[in-house]
Amino acid sequence: MDFSGFNGAEQAHMNKVIEKKQMQDFLKLYANIVEKCFSTCCNDFTSKALSSKEDACVMNCTEKFLKHSERVGSRFAELNAGTLGCTRE
């Protein structure tokens, strides 16, 4: 986003807002991964403990989701570098 028209106080405020938003986005990503990987990997409720198979599935699912999210982020940043005016001073 382009904050070139912002004065010092406004930029400082936006930086705080962005920092808070990144925290919230991280927590949302975390919750999304738990929900998605639980849904996909856990289908046996004859026991309350994770089986080793379920555990491995959850770990791979998490790893893969993070890599996926990073890759989408990189491509998205490339595509929008110009159009969104993503120049942050």
């Binding site: 986003m1 382009d2 904050f3 028209g5 912002f6 004065n7 106080a9 406004e10 405020h13 936006m14 807002v17 962005i18 938003k21 986005d25 949302k28 999304n32 998605k36 990987c37 996909t40 990997c41 491995a56 599935c57 770990m59 791979n60 699912c61 998490t62 790893e63 893969k64 989701f65 890599k67 996926h68 999210s69 890759r71 989408v72 982020g73 491509r75 998205f76 595509l79 929008n80 159009t83 969104l84 005016g85």
Partner: protein, 97 residues
Amino acid sequence: MSFLGGARSSAPAGGLNSDKIEMAITELDTITDFFNRMVSSCHTKCVGTRYTEGDLNKAEMVCIDRCVAKYNEVQKKVGEKIQSRGAASAGGGGFGL
């Protein structure tokens, strides 16, 4: 989101222009929401659910790259279509509040 940026007013001498800040926050929220939906959509389209390993394979990586490009194109097309229709009134404002 070019239609968001258009409403930007000039900065006052000092202090916070709260309209401008609010507009910037709306823009930030909007982009983040679009991004999160894209992550979710492309995950559904491209990433297998067997999870026998933690790495993306070649086919998944290629699919993700194309998916992001396509999702962006759909976003642009839909935006143009909505604007050409002047459909701002079709949202929550449409039920008489």
